[in-house]
């Protein structure tokens, strides 16, 4: 059942999420270019040979997980609008996007929290905060509930 008001609201939220995601991706790219020393001269990159592999993993992991998270979030929103236009409230592919968001969010939070490894002169103690874990779990629970809703919706569609 399609409702014009709901569709308009969905489109509005999708636009906001897309713009915010784009802003974050651009911001992440610029930050990464500065951190790596490829852009700007005020900040000199602190690559330390002793912990170089750790620095590379965290630096590149932050970029990859950040891009992945915002891409999946945007895809989820677009897919929701597309599905709603076709009369599908819970598109099946959105389940994968949500689980993907949950996993990528965890890694993005973790790498973000430890980005100060760039510039560390000695061994660096990795940090993990409860907020990252709780938000990841919330994302995962939402993904699971969405999955259940999708199954119920599918069954409802096959009720003649």
């Amino acid at each position: 059942m399609k409702n014009k008001k709901t569709l308009r609201a969905l489109v509005a939220v999708t636009t906001i999420v897309t713009l915010l995601s784009l802003f974050h991706v651009i911001s992440l790219t610029i930050q990464s270019l500065y951190i790596s020393g490829a852009m700007g001269t005020e900040f000199s990159p602190g690559w330390n040979e002793k912990i170089l592999w750790g620095q590379i993993i965290i630096f590149s992991g932050r970029i990859v997980s950040g891009y992945t998270f915002y891409l999946l979030l945007t895809l989820f929103m677009f897919n929701s609008v597309r599905g709603y236009k076709k009369g599908i409230i819970f598109p099946k592919t959105n389940v994968k996007f949500l689980y993907g968001c949950s996993i990528s969010h965890f890694f993005y939070s973790f790498f973000n929290l430890n980005i100060d490894i760039i510039g560390a002169t000695n061994e660096h103690l990795l940090k993990l905060d409860t907020e990252s874990v709780v938000l990841t779990l919330l994302f995962a629970i939402f993904a699971l509930m969405y999955h259940i809703a999708e199954k119920i919706s599918e069954e409802n569609n096959l009720t003649i």
Binding site: E155, L158, T159, I160
Partner: protein
């Protein structure tokens, strides 16, 4: 699915096409096909009533229970 919907037999008896039946009971031909091919997960009483009314039959004439045989192979 253990519950089989045998609409074809009644359609043949009443000399009615699937399209005609779908139109009479107010469902799409695609949904009727889902019912006939056993892909439906459930049937509403209102739909069952409409089918029985259209085909002038009892629910038992179109619904059949077939026990699922165990098919374990080694």
């Amino acid at each position: 699915m253990p519950i089989i919907v045998n609409v074809d037999v009644m359609l043949a008896k009443r000399k009615m096409s699937s399209g005609e039946l779908a139109e009479k009971i107010g469902i799409t031909a695609a949904n009727l096909s889902i019912l006939k091919t056993g892909k439906a997960k459930a049937i509403r009483f209102s739909t069952l009533e409409a089918i029985c009314k259209a085909l002038d039959c009892q629910p038992g004439d179109i619904l059949e229970y077939k026990r699922e045989e165990d098919s374990t192979t080694f």
